[in-house]
Point group: C2
Chain length 198, copies 2
Amino acid sequence: MTAEPSIRRGRPGYDRESLLRVAVEVFNDRGYDGTSMEDLANRLGITKSAIYHHVPSKTELLRLAVNRALDGLFAAAAEPGCTTGPATARLEHLVRRSVEVLVAELPFVTLLLRVRGNTDVERAALARRREFDLIVADLARAAITEGGIRPDVDAAITARLLFGMVNSLIEWYRPDRGHDVGEIADAVVAVAFGGLRL
Amino acid sequence: MTAEPSIRRGRPGYDRESLLRVAVEVFNDRGYDGTSMEDLANRLGITKSAIYHHVPSKTELLRLAVNRALDGLFAAAAEPGCTTGPATARLEHLVRRSVEVLVAELPFVTLLLRVRGNTDVERAALARRREFDLIVADLARAAITEGGIRPDVDAAITARLLFGMVNSLIEWYRPDRGHDVGEIADAVVAVAFGGLRL
DNA sequence: CGGATTATCGACCGAATGGTCGGTCAGGTG
DNA sequence: CACCTGACCGACCATTCGGTCGATAATCCG
């Protein structure tokens, strides 16, 4: 997928990308605000000042991370399966693809979903998230109108609950132990659309 | 509900309780780590040192807050409706009551669900949360065994998804605008147990 | 080899952090 | 009235914060 180690010149060490991956991991462990550049440097095995060779600020690390997550989500929403056909099928497809993106970019999405909106970067991220939520809500509304899903629950609330389920993955899904992506996506769709009751 | 202003002696001002409520609000706004005692003091309209008259440390504020949330949740799980009768009904009751607790103690639960586990206090909170999750998972397992809910999704995953939905409330439910508790609880139960599909 | 490229180090800075301390101020009580 | 209680203030402290700067180290290319 995102391979391409690519032969680089100059002194070996971290580059922007490899540094970012570690940084996001640490941010998720200790929280963005709870992570000092010293913490980061320790985990990276380099000094604090070396980090600033790759990235101009702590904030920039956050921006790179959350944008990667958002790009993945919006790319999924733009796929044909999410833009053509009956709204109900589109909604189901978006849920499934969202689960896949969420798992594929787990650390980035995790960071994104914890952003609170203090700084400009965070507010921008929240704005894009709201944009995404709007897509889901519109899809839910259309699905209700075409008679594909239950009309007794408000479309906006339906969308929130649906992605509440999806997004909860970041709290408990761990790629190493058991369960692969397809299995999880099936479970989400089954529970969300079919319901728990027999 | 939690009234009892109670006549106090000495110079009027904040007491531990009223200070805590404001503190939790600020923590939720800016994040616990992102909130300095100065921030807190500004919002309270008193000085930083005044805060330390009411509480020994910033950490203690966090402990008080998350324990209040956890106590509410465990109290709900201990109610007769959650401990007697068919497992499926108990599970449904726990979901409904959890929504109610979550709404009643929204700021406290919000803070709880954002704890990451850096400090001892946070780790203790996470431990209690896991304990609660175990109760839910056991209930789900029993409900599957008695044939009340779908057996094709693992009980642990069912529990996670279920409370993923419930817990998502902290992200979007706002008591002021529209929707009352019962309405939301009904929606959650309807979607979770009945499913979206018609 | 020499030079270009890239990553790293260590010393440093100003500001902000959580927390302490001695003293003050306002209301209730006898 | 005098006294006690509980809330509050302002100055201060050691540490940590995000970030800067000039020098150095390791690799590739010709």
